[in-house]
Symmetry: C2
Subunit: 264 residues, 2 copies
């Protein structure tokens, strides 16, 4: 992406200074209007709860045919809010499935998107040139690009990301601090994502409520299947439930190794 | 541990050959009696379900004052079964909290126990010399040694190890194979332990049923707390539940960093 001018916006002075020091952008503004003026592509990377307000604020500053996207974890509501953008702006949702539980510029990594999946979301009508630009943008960052409607995205991500987050948090909350001191690597990994910022995840959970509640019900159902087998002392059934999970995960790993998304 | 003679037992010829090739022991036998004859310390490292039978089989071959231990993940039942050992043998349970989801000699690592916690379990009466030997053994391998009764061990480990395993398996089973292809690192880590061998984990689950069922109930309770807050659209409550988990995990990480059990 040579010749591209990268302009940032940040409401905290400290963040703006850090971004300048780390050379993360060519310029960074406190004024949101100024930051999007003349932009070909605008990317929202703040908590989902701020999107509606930002769409309202930037509308008047966007030039013609600007592509607007975001990196939020839910898409149905952002698509609804994006209707407030001017008709000449083209909103397409982006969800690069990458990142960690850490937050802040100090955890920036230039290989973050290497081999990551990135989902683009849009409805029946989409501007072909905008879509082409956005696809190219993520591909040049190293992503494998997938495309789907926002509703399918939110259902899918509830299963592979939002539900695991809720499960990890519930697992941590289910044990006493004193017990957790004796936790080994198994618990540490299983609970890692529970260390993610609570405000970001509250936005995710509140903007995808039905899918996450459905996921909780399915997870509780699976937990109770195992409990029922334990109460019946049915070792064969316990074994088959555990083996089913092992085999499913093994299939997933195989797929990801083949795709070189993970290395052995 | 210079001057120590390490003798193995393995029922599969292939395992015995691999162990010899890798130089994991001075000798390895197919005959279990032969493998324990003259031993000062006998360590069971097979699935828990095999312990009762092994205790019966080795009893006649143990010399006086042999220390017998195991590396199983539950302790109440092994202590009960160990009553079948001759009076001159001293059984103390060991649980080094280390390892991975992988199985087999090819995943052997000589730094596996470095900074790991190891719990020794015994009742009111314990042979002081046996305890001293076993403590020293694990410490020389790099472990921090803790001691407690088998019932407390099983309750504690249900929370930090057995429940997470059941939760990881349930989480994998709650999603379709097709969806899992889109999983990111969050899901991969949260579900890693579900790849552990189903037979080993069936033994763990069936030998610690009450504690695991209690844990499932608590986990389901925590999941339903989050669900209730989602249904009420109570963002503040969702945020406080996620923040509670984040803070608890952060305390755990701090403890483990201070103890140098994990490195930053």
């Amino acid at each position: 992406m040579g010749g591209v001018r990268v302009v940032g916006w940040g409401h905290r002075r400290q963040t703006r200074e850090k971004a300048r020091e780390q050379g993360l952008c060519d310029d960074i503004f406190e004024d949101i209007g100024q930051s999007v003026e003349g932009a070909d592509l605008v990317i929202l990377a703040s908590p989902i709860g701020t999107f509606e307000e930002i769409f309202k604020k930037i509308g008047g500053y966007l030039g013609g045919e600007t592509v607007v996207t975001d990196v939020g974890s839910t898409k149905v509501l952002p698509h609804k809010w994006a209707k407030k953008l001017p008709r000449t702006a083209h909103y397409i949702g982006s969800h690069p499935i990458a990142g960690s539980e850490q937050r802040g510029l100090e955890f920036a990594r230039d290989d973050l998107f290497e081999k990551a999946n990135c989902i683009l979301t849009y409805g029946k009508k989409v501007d072909a040139a905008a879509l082409k630009l956005l696809r190219q943008f993520w591909r040049e960052l190293g992503c494998d690009v997938y495309e789907m409607g926002p509703a399918r995205h939110d259902r899918l991500l509830a299963n592979v990301s939002h539900l695991p987050h809720v499960a990890a948090a519930a697992l941590v909350n289910a044990s006493a601090d004193e017990d957790l001191k004796m936790a080994g690597k198994g618990f540490m990994d299983t609970s890692r994502i529970a260390s993610g910022p609570a405000n970001i995840w509250t936005d995710i959970v509140t903007t995808n409520p039905e899918n996450i509640c459905g996921g909780i019900d399915r997870l509780v159902g699976e937990l109770n299947k195992i409990k029922a087998a334990i109460l019946k002392k049915d070792a064969k059934r316990i074994g088959s439930l555990l083996e089913k999970a092992r085999a499913k995960r093994s299939k997933m790993i195989e797929f990801k190794l083949k795709k070189k998304e993970i290395l052995s």
